[in-house]
């Protein structure tokens, strides 16, 4: 468990860093997929197996495909120079770094009300129950949101016909 955690954490963070630092956007996308898979493994460690599956399906699957399509549609020229840093990279790096430290301090100094109870073994059924009872309205809203996003994406991305 300990070993698994550290392994997954290093892989995930490493590939995330690689995604950010890589100058080739396509490789960045691939590292992103690795990151997502690592996160899915983290879910497994957290005994959220259903979520791990969803993570793989949606992130590593759908979203990655999306991104790749996006790259294909927009990127031209030298692939090695497609993913450069902007001028404010240094400042952004500093902010991120400080934020990491702050976050760590805050987490470590906080006293979490950790419970010793065991998580349920069977999660899918419970999630389904929660979603269809207590969270039925957000659930429906998300459904509508997805529909709207779908339509919106189509409309936005559709080529505008030049009128006269």
């Amino acid at each position: 468990m300990v070993f698994m955690f550290w392994l997954i954490a290093i892989i995930t963070l490493g590939s995330a860093l690689a995604m950010v630092l890589n100058k080739n956007i396509f490789r960045s996308a691939l590292f992103m997929v690795v990151t997502f898979i690592g996160v899915a493994a983290m879910y497994v460690l957290l005994q959220a197996d259903f979520l791990a599956a969803v993570q793989i399906l949606v992130y590593a699957g759908a979203i990655a495909i999306f991104i790749v399509f996006g790259i294909m549609l927009t990127v031209r020229g030298n692939m090695k120079q497609t993913n450069l840093f902007s001028k404010n990279a240094a400042l952004a790096g500093l902010v991120s770094l400080v934020l990491v430290v702050i976050n760590a301090i805050m987490v470590l100094t906080s006293d979490w009300p950790v419970s010793e109870a065991a998580p349920p073994v069977e999660t899918v059924g419970q999630i389904a129950e929660l979603m269809l009872t207590k969270f039925i309205v957000p659930f429906e809203v998300v459904a509508v949101l997805l529909l709207v996003a779908l339509l919106g994406a189509i409309i936005i991305a559709k080529e505008v016909k030049k009128t006269s």
Binding site: M19, V20, V39, V54, I63, I67, V114, I156
Partner: protein, 102 residues
């Protein structure tokens, strides 16, 4: 023993890496990728707290599902926007996008 703190620090670090990507990259698509990483990091937080603080309820996971759904929608719209902008500007370099300034 791996506790809650480990997961929270991990997710925080992942979030910050995503943030760095979103703030420091030129390509709009790279920014989008950074955003996705940030969202995932948040999900880990949700799930981890749910697992360690209230293990018997799976509300955190339900939330994470919603976040994933929203993230998917966001990526779809975001990419559509990028494509549309690209069509206009032949560029996805956000440094060229300053229309917010009047």
């Amino acid at each position: 023993m791996i506790g809650l703190n480990h997961f929270l620090v991990f997710s925080g670090t992942l979030f910050c890496i995503g943030l760095f990507g979103a703030l420091a990259k030129r390509s709009a698509i790279a920014i989008l990728m950074g955003l996705e990483v940030m969202l995932t990091a948040v999900n880990i937080n949700l799930v981890a707290i749910s697992r360690y603080v209230t293990p018997e309820y799976l509300v955190g996971q339900v939330f994470a599902v919603f976040v994933i759904a929203v993230a998917a929608a966001e990526v779809a719209v975001g990419l559509a926007l990028i494509v549309a902008i690209y069509r206009n500007r032949i560029s996805v370099n956000v440094e060229d996008f300053d229309w917010l300034k009047w």
